[in-house]
Amino acid sequence: MSLEVTLASLKLRHPIMLASGVLGTTPSMLVGAYRAGASAVVTKSLTVNPREGNPNPVVVELRFGLLNAIGLANPGVENYLAECLENQKAMTKIPVIFSIAGTKVEDYVKAAWLISEKGLAKALELNLSCPHVDETRQFSEDPRLTAQVVKAVSAVTSLPVFVKLGLTTNLMEVAEAAVKHGASAITAINTIRAMAIDIRAKRPVLSSIYGGLSGPAIKPIALRVVYELYEEFDVPLIGVGGISRWEDVVEFLMAGATAVQVGTAVYRYGLKVFKDLVNGLKRYMEEEGFRDVKDLIGMAH
């Protein structure tokens, strides 16, 4: 039985990756996630300069998901790379995808350049859709900006460029702009802008009012987006949004995803979730007589 899938030049031992934002704050945790069973790991989104993010509270636990407004807190590309180089041996052996965020096109270009020249990354993922940082969110709300940033980044790197989109009404136009200007894959979707109000405190819980909703609550929406994208585009798709059981993985593959990313489920079930998902997928393939996981991709169309 083969579980191997390919995203541009990136070969993965199976389709289940670690999503950006969870555990990716430090290189040592990325290595841990790979060892626990993720086929590839995505760093927390990095910006050119360090960002402190939003003041607390920055998370709200919900029954069907998680609301977060970390605000792209990160040590900055250069500090992060320096820490990666300390773990170079372990890092070069695993498929690490560097997630980049910014507020201007030049930020993405500079970060992409700095990351590419260190040789640690196997691909880049452009976060154009952080729902609680307006200056970043604008990129995936305007196809022209998406085109600019994807084009500019693709010009300075030889790495595959994945573009992570958010839930917008013009999502298909944005995806088209990304694909046309060099995206090797589309990652969909980012968390969805949402909020929570504490009725005893009588105010929004998050200090930034709005945050991003992730987890099972958004799964059917993410699945729909992947299905729609598969109808229109030929680039590989990476499905993300609320995947927490192996059945979800199968659904996303059948909708057209080549690979999936898991984030909130790691918080809920711990790192063992990767092995559980892979084992569930294998069992399903045995039961249904599949020899190659690639045969599942887009099957529901």
């Binding site: 934002g21 969870v22 360090p50 509270p57 807190a73 405190a201 918080y267």
Partner: protein, 276 residues
């Protein structure tokens, strides 16, 4: 129904020492209190001001009360110190792994040592109570800069009598010197089979080295910048471990593996910075 926070009504407030306050909250829910253990922590939310972690200095399963002892060091703790009886505080948690009963037969293998420095003495109070109820009579060594910063001296001496040893840097109370000096002397003169500690990380690091040398098993409660408290954001990571999940109490085996212990912590951006 999603409920995000437990409510705590402020019952009592007192100044403990210079810049140190204790408040007693009555919680509206049994669940949070039931899960309290020495060394675990809660997130304290003051809407519009801040949310920050504190490891309670007391809790009562019957009265549903939670005691928080803190040093005023930012906007959040300042606002907490200004609250009045009847005011509401929002609490989530408790989180993390607290102190655990060690794997040695404490009643046979000699004494137990508890070492606290400054406000780090606060979360040790429920631990000492738990040890005394085993029943054990641990040695408790507490160090402060000056007499006016000393914390829980009466409470601790009630629990362990003359097994309590207090030190101050300037000699204004108890022995002049540091807890490390006293702990070293105790370990030379008595059989100490297990140790617990909480306080400034420089102090903990020196104690850790000393305990390792003597072959004394131990657990220490560390402090980091905590944002989410649920293991997602990574701000409290020490090496590959999340303080909010795998800590805040770590045992000697784990501590010896941590390269950042005693050296680095993470700033709000996640950059490494020196601990001191």
């Amino acid at each position: 129904m999603d409920r995000y926070y437990f409510e705590g009504i402020l019952k009592d407030k007192k100044g403990e020492a210079e810049g140190l306050f204790s408040i007693i909250l009555r919680l509206n829910d049994r669940k949070a209190i039931r899960k309290m253990r020495p060394g675990r922590f809660v997130m304290v939310w003051l809407p519009g001001i801040d949310e920050f972690p504190l490891s309670p200095s007391s809790y009562d399963y019957e009265d549903l009360t939670l005691g928080l002892t803190f040093k005023v060091r930012g906007e959040g703790t300042k606002a907490l110190a200004l609250l009045n009886p009847g005011d509401r505080v929002f609490i989530r948690g408790p989180y993390g792994r607290g102190f655990v009963a060690p794997q040695v037969d404490l009643s046979r293998e000699g004494g137990v040592l508890v070492v606290g420095g400054g406000v780090g003495v606060a979360p040790l109070l429920p631990l000492v109570e738990a040890l005394v109820s085993l029943p054990l009579r641990p040695y408790v060594v507490c160090g402060f800069k000056r007499a006016n910063e000393a914390l829980f001296i009466d409470e601790l001496s009630k629990l362990v009598g003359d097994n309590l040893i207090v030190t101050t840097d300037d000699g204004s109370l108890g022995f002049k010197g540091t807890v490390v000096d006293v702990a070293r002397e105790l370990m030379n003169s008595k059989t100490i089979s297990y140790a617990f500690a909480c306080g400034p990380e420089e102090m903990l690091f020196i104690l850790h080295k000393m305990f390792l040398n003597k072959g004394t098993r131990h657990q220490m409660l560390l402090e980091r910048y905590v944002k989410c408290a649920i293991g997602v954001c990574g701000s409290c990571v020490i090496d590959g471990l999340r303080l909010c999940k795998e800590g805040p109490v770590f045992d000697d085996i784990t501590l010896s593996r941590l390269k950042e212990f005693g050296r680095f912590r993470r700033s709000p951006s996640g950059s490494r910075e020196p601990v001191a």
